[in-house]
Amino acid sequence: MKRFVALFLAMMFALAGAAWAADDAVRIGVFLPLTGQNAFGGQLELEGVQMAHKEMGEILGKKIELFVVDNKSDKVESANAVKRLIDKEKVQAIIGTYGSSLAMAGGEVSEKAGIPQVGTSCTNPLVTQGKKYVFRVCFIDPYQGAGAATYAFKTLGLKKAAMLVDVANDYSVGLASYFKKSFTKLGGEVVSTLNYQSGDQDFTAQLTDMISKKPDVLFIPSYFAEGAIIMKQAKELGATFTIMGGDAMDNPQITEIGGKAVEGFTHTTFPYDPSMQDMNAAAAKFTEEWKKAYPDKEPNVNAALGYDAYMIIMDAITRAGSAEPEAITKALAETKDFVGVTGETTINATHDAEKPVGLVVIKDGKKTYVGSITPEL
């Protein structure tokens, strides 16, 4: 079926491509997980990109065309998606994706083709490592892991940690190891590290074992689909420890999906949340525009990153005065103090965005932004 859908999409895009080939619009590709395990985040980021596109649909006097391809939360599909964007749609820059594994698979393709790619929320350091054409608007996991560890150990005073890690996922494995490194460096102890695989639904065996080790905090660098079930099963099995997670758990529906089980759950995220007290001008504008566009939906950090990824490319094109891939790449690398929804962004030497780590707690059934920390590595 995947093949069939791929073929069908390819045909659709081929037709669309033929129709567009005539005019000289700026062609921006988007590849995101719109189905599968990561659909939660992918959909939100797409909405962010589309909102930015609506707001800024023209640049250098040319129309901007968006080409969206679903990478189906699958590494192989992800590489295919980027290939299609480059070969068939002839895009000049690419936005995406949610999910580090997906970004790495896609990044290989854009690197070879020399088309700039701006990651939204792919936080594993390997995503941009050694890549000339791959950038991102988010911080990286060593930084985030240190943020979570510092908050758990110093602010909450939790000394014994356990980790439940998705071994099939680069993001999860990476973030867990960075959390562990920082947590033990601070003086804490990791008493249990157990694994699972993406798509698992039964975690009772791992959790039963973990509860017997009596940790103070369970760190789950999971994606949202598994994270909510893990928390439910942990509560059912009588777990009383604090549960913490990373940015992948940031979702406006967390309280709807998780119900009582997510109360007290704490996660690190990018410095934007609608419950934030002191928003910058870009964030305030984004929040307002979002509420107009989607009145029944809370704005979220993934949408904000999608929006920022689009805008940072626009910023690069404007500064370069050209929409040629090489020119965009050069300008992106020189991005400095770009004011985005998720804070001021400077692209550093490794093509990562430098920004502080935000913290959100679920309190009384509501997401509450408690502030940001700049962890020491």
């Binding site: 079926m1 995947k2 069939f4 859908v5 719109l34 189905t35 599968g36 659909a39 939660f40 959909q43 890690v165 071994v167 099939a168 249990s192 157990l194 694994n195 699972y196 695989q197 798509g199 698992d200 639904q201 039964d202 009772t204 065996a205 791992q206 039963t208 074992d209 017997s212 949202f224 689909a225 909510a228 079930i229 439910k232 099963q233 059912e236 099995l237 009588g238 529906q253 709807e256 999906i257 998780g258 119900g259």
Partner: protein
């Protein structure tokens, strides 16, 4: 490992195992009669769970009504799948029907993505199922007891149908020799439809219980449980109902107990199921109980 922990693991295994067993029965029944591996079975399981969810939230039905309706609709759907995708291929080589089954599986998955969206949905559970009972250090969800008991009752009902009713006699006759059954006046197509109906109803029942146990719905939720149940059916001896039950329960225990005793191997849990499949196919290709033809349904 303390005794309380062991009992906790035991109960977890039993619940997971009985769910696998219920799904495995659907595979085994269809295989027994048509020699067809109905790969769409996992999707039938998924739809059963979704129907309850929509019955509860959209139409606001009370729980029992939603469950019964979902089982009936899913059974009907199973029969429809047979009529549309398998019946025209009854006389074709077996591989054609198998490919058709794979097609149906992907089709249903994608239809579900279109209609239900890919975003996971939470299942709202009644609180009497959600609040755990504490028995000397072991936390027992009412559901943990409920699932094996209900699964057992459903299996008993099935055994009754197969061995004590005329329709069951028809099923057993067809599984022996479909052409002779035609000649003897067995209403073959009706019996086959009934088989699909029963198999799908059991898949719906397990889908509903699965959704209560792991309260999240996704259009791809049937894929892995479907594969696991298929392995369970092969392990027990595909074609044999008793074998499917034994295989399902055994697989539940193998999965949970390996993690319980070797927690560091937890990431390879799925691998154990597939290693089991390969071993069984190498050592005893007919499965545990597959050798006895009179058990075939």
């Amino acid at each position: 490992m303390t005794a309380a922990m062991f009992i906790q693991h035991f109960l977890n295994s039993l619940t997971l195992g009985s769910l696998y067993a219920l799904i495995a029965i659907g595979y085994t029944m269809v295989y027994g009669i048509l020699r067809l591996i109905n790969f769409a079975h996992g999707e039938i399981f998924m739809l059963g769970a979704y129907f309850v969810f929509y019955g509860l939230t959209l139409v606001n039905l009370p729980w029992p009504v939603a469950i019964v309706l979902s089982i009936l609709v899913t059974a009907g759907l199973g029969i429809l799948v047979d009529q549309v995708a398998y019946r025209p291929l009854r006389d074709a080589p077996r591989i054609s029907a198998l490919i058709s089954a794979i097609g149906v599986s992907f089709f249903l998955q994608n239809v579900a993505i279109v209609f239900f969206q890919a975003i996971p949905r939470e299942v709202y559970r009644p609180s009497w199922l959600e609040d755990p009972i504490l028995i000397s250090g072991v936390r027992v969800l009412p559901l943990t007891l409920f699932v094996p008991v209900l699964s057992f009752l459903l299996m008993m009902g099935l055994v009754y149908i197969v061995y004590r009713t005329k329709a069951g006699l028809g099923m057993r006759a067809i599984s022996r020799d479909i052409e002779t059954s035609y000649l003897m006046g067995v209403p073959v197509n009706r019996v086959i439809a009934l088989t699909f109906g029963i198999g799908s109803a059991l898949a719906a029942a397990s889908g509903i219980m699965w959704a209560l146990r792991y309260p999240q719905l996704q259009p791809i939720m049937g894929v892995i449980p479907g594969f696991k149940a298929f392995i369970a059916a092969v392990f027990g001896g595909i074609g044999s109902i008793q074998g499917a039950v034994i295989g399902g329960v055994a697989l539940g225990f193998i999965e949970i107990m390996t993690v319980a005793f070797f927690p560091e191997l937890a990431g390879y849990r799925d691998a154990f199921a597939f290693i089991l499949l390969i071993l069984i196919l190498l050592v005893k290709p007919t499965g545990l109980l597959g050798a006895k033809p009179e058990d075939k349904v």
